[in-house]
Point group: C2
Chain length 453, copies 2
């Protein structure tokens, strides 16, 4: 978004620096073709001596003081870095600003905090595991998988204890799903207008998860599937995280005891070596460092479902067990903190998701909700998974309010703040799925605004 | 695969170490429930003083010498690591053996070498970008994107030069595709029986790529789409990589000028900041560090399509421009170098793909091809993308030869070595898509074997 030329005018408005003017293109094309022929001749000569051909050519040219070769950037002249064989690959040094970030002061300790995913910098639907949002209640651990165990007990005939190897030996499934913290967009209940989409919506990520359906483990333990109505999932870290999961979700086969994420083992900060995957349900139920599953016939009323992750209602009561993340969307480009440097063409894009199923469609408004246009959805549109949407926009340089409104395949429509507040009031922390508004100012700066209407 | 108990017997054959015997499960369940109630009381008390509750509890218990708490592992008692806010996340230290690996001596320099992806350790279809295979002709570079340019010239009305920002401002597409080096499985032409699937098939990866359809850039430059039949793609690194791409592929909209991979910018070793994505076509055509596209009316006969990446035929001729990767599959578990520690249940699984479209089905044999059973395919099955398959198997402890045979939606069936050699002989390097055979020996060790039949 920091580009001034309008590519839709068919030509550049100013010559790019450090490379070529468009007028020189024909000359360079001739040179390149000549150079390729030169290179082929050189390659034959060099092959006979066993020397890497381009390096030999570049060295020869440098010795002869060839001004054409010396003008080329270093990466066109020499040998680059060798293949990576003893390290895990990293992003470019030029991408070091793309980071998870903690909201300062959000919690008292960094072990019970959040780091938000940089949604404004991401493409498609996969969140790189190195940028996956984090929410810890007691810090993260790198647990030795050879010592970790998963116990299955409660209403089962034979309580069992599994090693990771035993779980990985069973038939696995891999599925793409979003995970969203129930408190995502929580600051906006107070109309705080957090500045960027990283902080408003960045407790959201999406991965390909691999694991064993929990129902398979329960069946192996001889679960009483007729009477059982809930499972309790318990994590091994010091936060004593326990959550109740309805058996209806487990029976469908959707709930996974997962060890894999985006093709490799889970990352330590996301529950290595085992976490529960509960598609469509808020992240807190995706218990990390999973060590125990208990089968029962009533909800367990654990601290994180009775005291926390409850919805404070206008009448002073609170709702518990509102775990499913309702249909929601957000525009990530343009979004808060970005600057449009020029009028002209932009591709508005963002993410939509629903804990109830698939995204059916997304509408986009650039006038604060008076007019809506239907966006393109990038396929495949998957169940309980992020869907990337986009729509073309020519900005006329006047103030604009950009919004997106998602509808899922149950027919549910993402609410405005007015609609959401009518039901939920203003005192909640959790489960804010209202339409997000970004104000594009005349100077191109984009700001988070909350519309009354 | 290093697990001895058979989970399908409904109970463990030996007590797991370092944790609990099944007989102790009921006791622990009572303790856990009691502990949870204790914790809740503790949490209320601790909240009043602003101290993190579980830490306070653990400290108090330690002071009082509570033997129950002291037996718990460290990660259950204390504060873990804080959220990651100024670094890019990494895999667990226990996964440090999951690495790309170079085949020693395969090439003369590490800048013109290969590092293979660890297929035996991967799940699902997404390859983590940190483990994506590498093939360089002149080493890799971390090119400054603000200085990089893409030129479009040749049979166009207005030659153009694009900055990365300009390209990223255009409407983007994201699609999951495999990329396979044309030389993948190349050593097997010589019946070398490379020991592991990492080395036999590891020049294969799969990502969600994001970019602009090349056809859109050509249209912006006023391409002569009536006369143009080919494009030349040229990279900026010292290898002078140039490849001819048929316009038929470009016209379909499939070919992308890509900057994104698995949600973030391309990795330097995979072409940052710009590479061509040519779905279904061998990796060499996915030109990295892409700097120029030329539109023409005949193939360009570049060095890497005339001298290299050609198929030597039995009659002494060679085939050029055989770029599309035909339908292929491989079992990754069990595979060469792995050891089955016990008889009993295993989930055979692997990967299938086709450069012509979707995988229609995969058949698996455990007796060297005499009998075949149809495998399960993990959805969504996507076009020119890896598809994970699996099938249940109970190993009786006798020697077994495990194979997979994929069929794509054109009806093409992956050939046996005998069928492939009838047409292609034995002297090729490229485009080996034959059925892979793994011998499971009586001692459980898995070896690469090539069947004559």
């Amino acid at each position: 978004m920091d580009s001034s030329p309008d590519p839709h005018r068919g030509r550049l408005r100013k010559a790019p620096e450090n490379f070529l003017r468009p007028a020189d293109v024909a000359v360079v094309a001739r040179e390149a073709r000549g150079g390729r022929r030169d290179f082929l001749r050189g390659a034959f000569a060099a092959a006979a001596t066993g020397v890497a051909a381009p390096a030999a050519l570049a060295q020869a040219a440098a010795r002869e003081g060839d001004p054409h070769i010396l003008q080329l950037p270093e990466h066109t002249r020499g040998l680059g870095q060798p293949v990576v064989t003893d390290g895990y690959g990293k992003p470019s040094k030029y991408e070091s600003n793309v980071q998870r970030r903690q909201s300062p002061g959000l919690t008292q300790t960094a072990q019970a905090s959040v780091s938000f995913a940089p949604l404004q910098s991401l493409f498609g639907i996969v969140t790189p595991s190195g940028l996956h949002f984090e929410r810890h209640h007691q810090g993260w651990w790198d647990i030795d998988p050879s010592k970790h165990r998963l116990m299955v007990n409660g209403m089962v005939r034979t309580p069992m204890v599994f090693t990771i190897d035993e779980i990985m030996r069973l038939p696995a499934q891999s599925r793409f799903h979003f995970i969203e913290c129930g408190a995502n967009t929580g600051m906006e209940w107070g109309n705080v207008a957090v500045p960027t989409v990283q902080y408003t919506h960045g407790m959201l990520s999406c991965s390909e998860f691999t694991g064993v359906p929990l129902i398979a483990l329960l069946e192996m333990a001889g679960a009483d599937l007729r009477r059982a109505r809930f499972v309790l999932a318990e994590g091994a870290d010091g936060s004593s995280m326990t959550r109740t999961i309805p058996m209806d979700l487990v029976r469908s086969g959707e709930v996974l005891v997962a060890y894999g994420q985006n093709g490799e083992m889970l990352r330590p900060e996301n529950g290595y070596p085992l976490r529960l995957v509960v598609p469509g349900v808020q992240g807190v139920s995706w218990v990390k460092y999973l060590r125990r599953i208990e089968l029962g016939d009533q909800p367990y009323a654990a601290k994180d479902e009775v005291l926390h992750y409850v919805d404070l209602m206008p009448d002073g009561t609170h709702r518990q067990y509102t775990s499913i993340q309702e249909c929601k969307s957000v525009v990530t480009t343009p979004s808060g903190g970005q600057v449009l440097l020029d009028k002209g063409f932009y591709s508005i894009n963002g993410l939509a998701w629903s804990g109830r199923g698939k995204v059916r469609h997304v509408d986009v408004s650039v006038d604060g909700g008076r007019n809506w246009r239907r966006a393109r959805l990038q396929g495949p549109v998957m169940d309980k998974c992020l869907t990337r949407f986009s729509i073309d926009w020519v900005w006329d340089g006047k103030p604009a309010i950009v919004q997106s409104r998602a509808t899922d395949d149950t027919g549910y429509v993402q609410p405005s703040y007015r609609q959401l507040r009518e039901v939920r009031g203003t005192r909640s922390i959790y489960h804010n799925n209202a339409i997000q508004s970004w104000l594009v100012q005349e100077d191109g700066e984009v700001r988070n605004v909350q519309l009354a209407a």
